[in-house]
Symmetry: D3
Subunit: 228 residues, 6 copies
């Protein structure tokens, strides 16, 4: 009953690459604090930062067959996003599959499961965000869906949505929101640059953000140790 | 109902810095195996080692407002120790707050929650021990206590207690015990130096520590594989 | 009631070292996907790869006494494999014990518990795979078995079985299977070399492994986005 | 930036109630093994079984304000489905809110977070599936979305999708699939009734499902203990 | 180096028993949302509710010796509160110790570790809140502190502080705060009684608590599904 | 490559049933504190207690095919012990398989994975110890070994070893040790009966076990609160 959807829409790589210049935390804030993957996904090496079009792929537990199917759907600039149909920590992915993905222009992997060959993947410079590192391999008995909407580590991802991943985590930006989020991210970053300088000079956030009155309204009081 | 306590007592930086020359494991043993933080707090980069006065700070779940309040209480040589009032993995802290803390002489952060901007924090050399790394940011709606006694990752910490953190973990030394623990730590280290040399020469711990008789009393026996 | 078994059989170091040239994932597949340790054991530094004879050691919770007993049983080329008799995250092992093991030719440590002094162990180049890093030390009150069969992180290990550990995890090869597994591992690796080249050239796994027909039989279908 | 969507479409209660006669496992299989919530959600008492229209609700971490907003959107036959915008174990929900929901015809609660007053909820017979039980309450400072699509415990849920929950877990059936899944569930159950009788009579599944040949093809062999 | 403190102060049982009439959630709120134990401690049977004076006891990992020491310190109306000096899931406590505690008037056990004999404890009606249920017993080799301040499951507890435990969790009330918290708890409960009635009649919390204006100020908006 | 071993040796049911009169904790102690399964396996209903011969069965992740194979190997008095070849929480087992096992005299199930139909299994009175409860079903694509030695939840189990399970957990007794462990268990229980009575009368364990001198030797001291 598995299906592969061909000819899915993608986001233009100019927008994807522009989004990739911002950190995940910035983009997450810029789009109203939505779209973050759960924090149990971690990069296998640091630092790492990529952006790309989501190439979505489900896998059966302990079975990586559909990753092979997904490779054929890959286009340059994609990021493979893999989710198991039930939780699994097996090592679904290693350097042979990475070699194949690189040959088709894929920029990295996000997987809510395990990977192996991490020494080789690190040496190859193929970035991976995974739930675990695990030498346990998989079988090829049960195909699953490719390029359909999926939930991966708590995030809802459709083919061609934009994925940005860095040392802090992973965020998905919906295709239709990509351009707007790009603008909002730039605004946040411009805004932060000035603040950074003032904080480095010792100015207090309490003053810079005018927080003192609101804090008092919410019940914050001050006392001295000697009062206790 | 949150309170900020001003003018809290601190431990002298000469003692703090002297304690910082010892590893966390040594100090923990030297003070009778007390004061250790739970091992789920891990450094965001390694190696890292710091010592400082505890600047304590509670935070509401998903809300980092009181960290901004804590910055004003910071003195050079402090380490910010943050605990959420209920468990939370959000990214409470990033490079803007680190910039601010550095400007006020704070040496690092210990937080039983998440942080973000870890690539930037690593580059800045601002050491952090955290429960998680997470791009998920926080709001500023609910203030919480600053510079009151807290429980952080299972350790009871009062403002001005000494915090020492390294690759193995984090330990708190009570203000009133700091000088005594310093002496006991030095003794342990002197003692270990001679043992290290003897072990490197192949001497057995069984002999060096005269364990054989006590092991026999506790029921240890030897047999040969061929006996089985 | 603890026992130490002396004069246990070991696997020849020529075979051990030959197995050590292969990755854990390769060996695991070559021996029918058996013998893997659970993936919660992770190296304290990367990259790391070792092979050796299992020197097995049980420890009581929070008590590392039997590790001292195990050192006397060590032979050059051994890997110390430690399992607690009930789950424990304490730091059972540090640089003094590592110094002692190195003096007796031990190549590394696999432990389903915690270790400390990881900065020093990293500097010494003594590889460790552990469940946690923890400054919490242990006592010496209760001896446990040394060189008896154990279950460590889900793997059944007998003294003198071969242990191979790398960045992906740890695998045990039974003494009596070592030579056969060596041959099968070599075959797998030879086989992969050719595939790697073809995948790098862009050939699809679907074609290289002739998967298309079998996938169709198992119910995989293709559609176009515009069909939806 | 939070939004409440009014006048959302619901599934007819005749179909909802008909689905509620089947177990979660049956429905999950009947719709192609999709739509299951993660198994960390557990009923606070057993046995329990309900079906209803999803009334979706996001909450900020440690903040249950939007649950109060959701009550106004409730219609008889709804099940409240709550997901925090970042993971949280706090006790978001207790007997006062249950009293209010019951007054508006809501049949139960599914929440990827904690609840409290479980003794009272059990006595009231208000069924709840939650991630934890926790006396820790919440604040009311930050509203979040109500009746928008959400991801809850790994399941993608839209307002008015059908939720069925029992002792085994929780499943969502998409509005547009509800009628078809109802038929398929009935078929599965009819089919199982006959099998149950045959198995009770001692017939082997191997024979009843004609598995022997396929097992042999997949490499299963038999030996006798005495052969070893 | 372990110490037992005799003749510790206790809270009057009239106040203890009066506090025991309120739920843990109510008391926790009434004392400013402090003093809660982590929610991983769960009752071994439900329903259960007790209140008593804390009889504090540390234990070494896998070693329950100091529980025997603590029994001698017990006074009628106490609740034994046990914390391991490093995390441990062993079954520290069973029906023999419960028999002994009951004989000395102890009302129950709170332990951040495991217990066993839960069938017998349930039959005896001896309430226990624990981290796990585990047949794995313990040794008696290493004494630890009794009746000293401890951290148990994240809560700071001193001998003679009041412990209240029910199906929702466990809370500690400081001796010196007990009377004040009693009054505040009564106030909360009186207040809730009227609200419960109004909610049961279908009044919305939004109206009863006058939340609508504040919600709008914080950015909540309403739309209709047909707008999307 | 999977194998089924026929005609395996079993332990006599007279010994099995005699062992089943003792609790798991008693047997575990009686055989030198060995053979316990990890405590994450929990009964789906309580109270429950069974004893039987281990019928061992491996399963592939997300695949319960070999359980069907195992049924044919069942003999009256067996307990099915199932372990996945890599960790998996899926619901491998439900009421149809239970119906089949009951027809062949199997007394219960121990599984380091998930089960479903727990309402039905509870009603049928078929006892199960599992890692999770999960409606997620499994496929039938990959057979695995039946009646070979396995590691299940950290315990090494061979076909025909004795399994005893109760509310506290699960223990395996080796075939060859069963008779000896039976005697040692009886001795422990006889011994406890007298102690129980003395403890119920208020006698202190400190005196009954003559612990005071040994505690003093190990460094336990007493002080009064007023000394502090």
């Amino acid at each position: 009953m598995a299906v592969v959807v061909r000819n899915t829409t993608r986001t233009g790589l100019d927008i994807v690459d522009a989004l990739g210049r911002f950190g995940v935390a910035t983009i997450h804030e810029a789009q109203g604090r939505t779209g973050l993957f759960a924090s149990h996904l971690r990069p296998i090496y640091r630092p790492a930062r990529i952006a790309g079009n989501a190439l979505t792929c489900e896998v059966a537990p302990g079975d990586n067959w559909s990753i092979h199917v997904a490779v054929e759907m890959a286009r340059p600039g994609d990021i493979l996003v893999v989710t198991p149909t039930s939780p699994c920590d097996d090592g679904y992915f290693g350097e042979l599959l990475a070699t194949s993905l690189i040959a088709h222009g894929v920029r990295g992997l996000v997987i809510d499961a395990g990977v192996r060959d991490v020494a080789e993947l690190t040496e190859m410079g193929f970035p991976v965000w995974s739930k675990s590192i695990n030498a346990q391999g998989t079988v090829k008995e049960t195909p699953a869906n490719v390029q359909t909407p999926i939930v991966c580590a708590g995030a809802y991802v459709r083919p061609g949505d934009v994925i940005v991943a860095d040392d802090d985590g992973i965020v998905v930006v919906r295709r239709e929101d990509a351009e707007g989020v790009l603008g909002a991210s730039q605004q946040r970053e411009d805004n932060e640059q000035e603040k950074r300088q003032r904080l480095a000079n010792g100015e207090l956030g309490l003053d810079m953000y005018s927080m003192r009155e609101k804090l008092a309204q919410r019940g914050l009081t001050y006392s001295d140790e000697s009062d206790a």
